[in-house]
């Protein structure tokens, strides 16, 4: 139980996927211009990462390892994640149009996102079991959402701020992202080894 809790805290704060591991920078910059959109994107990522972690763990353990074809990891994971997201989108479309409206445009964006693939591969590298992998996926998703939300909040305020012309738009966003990243470094050492 303690280990699961530590995995979640670690994935959210200490090993934050965006700010510490630098995965998923594209949506982090692209979808962080408004808080609404970033919440939608965050929810889609949490959803996707949790499911992808579980499914890819099963693929690795029951197909790739027994047949000694671990080198197929990347392509197999991408294939499975893309199919999974597609499938989820269809199901959501059928059972809940309102959820589809909230997540719809973000789901296809993250099918081949490196953060989703990253969490799947890191699960395997860390020798997690099924439950630990799922929790890590969930925590990674929450961490991504947290980073995205903080960024969106800052950027909404930035719209009002007098920024030098040369730094307007993406440049100032990168500077803020780096400062955020430095701030998140403060969490390192939160959990003693």
């Amino acid at each position: 139980m303690t280990k699961l809790f530590l995995i979640i805290v670690s994935a959210i704060l200490i090993n934050n996927f965006v700010l510490i591991k630098f995965l998923g920078i594209c949506p982090f910059v692209g979808v962080s211009s408004a808080v609404d959109a970033s919440i939608g994107m965050g929810m889609a990522v949490i959803f996707c990462m949790t499911l992808a972690s579980s499914v890819t763990w099963a693929i690795q353990t029951y197909i790739l390892v027994p047949f000694h074809v671990e080198f197929l990891q990347t392509i197999a994971f991408i294939l499975v994640i893309a199919a999974l997201v597609q499938f989820i989108e269809m199901v959501i479309n059928k059972i809940s149009p309102s959820l589809k409206k909230a997540l719809g445009i973000y789901l296809p964006l993250i099918t081949t996102n490196c953060a989703v693939l990253g969490v799947a591969i890191l699960n395997i590298r860390s020798n997690f079991n099924f439950l630990e992998a799922s929790f890590n996926g969930f925590g990674a998703g929450v961490g991504f959402t947290l980073a995205l939300l903080i960024m969106a909040g800052i950027r909404e305020r930035l719209d009002m701020a007098p920024i030098p012309r040369a730094l307007k738009g993406v440049p100032i966003t990168f500077i803020i992202a780096s400062l955020l990243s430095v701030a998140f470094l403060g969490f390192v050492g939160l959990i003693p080894e």
Partner: protein
Amino acid sequence: MNNSIMTIIISIISLAVIGGVSGAILAYASAKFSVKTDPRVDEVLSLLPRANCGACGYPSCAALAEAIVDGKADPTACKVGGESTAKAIAEKIGAGKVELKERLIARVFCGGGTSKSGRKFDYSGIKDCDAVLLVGGGDKICGYGCLCYGNCVKACKFDAMKMSDDGLPIIDRDKCVACGKCIVSCPRKIISYIPRSARVVVNCCTKDKGGYVRKICKVGCIGCKLCEKACAPCAITMNDNLPVINYDKCNACMECVKVCPQKTIIAI
């Protein structure tokens, strides 16, 4: 040698199985979870202008098309498409005859361009009405008039507005579709709708006293009420030192234009 061939075969088979199974699940899901959409939505959408201007109150033309088919919106809801679009849509969804409202046009209620109305100070910041308003309430002396930095022109998606040489926005009658984007964009709130058939306008928004207006603007309304007295059908009433024209009563006799000492009321 034999071993590596085995590895290749196993890789091909395992990937093929993973891909095949996912493909089969997806194929099954697309049939099982297919959502029926009304084909009329696409047809109505093809009739709409698809400018996504938002004048109807829906975020996009697609959203309006859906609302029209659902019966939540009127076929005439699209102000941009006008009569022909409304008729075509009504025909498509079988709504029968449609009653059209009088078409509107946006109007900037200010005649005080740079040559007619003075400035308090030299402003050299961002060329934006909202921005200049933050600096001491704008550089224009008149607290009601056009700021002349063209937020409305930037907001117009139909290329119907441009700035005149005198710094006032001019609306192109042929291009204006009354989408209301300029009305929202104006921080001074001096743009509003008038009927297309309107022949005279009170080209001012000031609520200041006449003597003060005379000092700061050559074409500002001084609230002399001559127009109110001259109006035979009583279409003009005074409200806060400013005449208001009731276009339902106006018979376009142009008497108000003739008597106005400041040339505030103009024929259009």
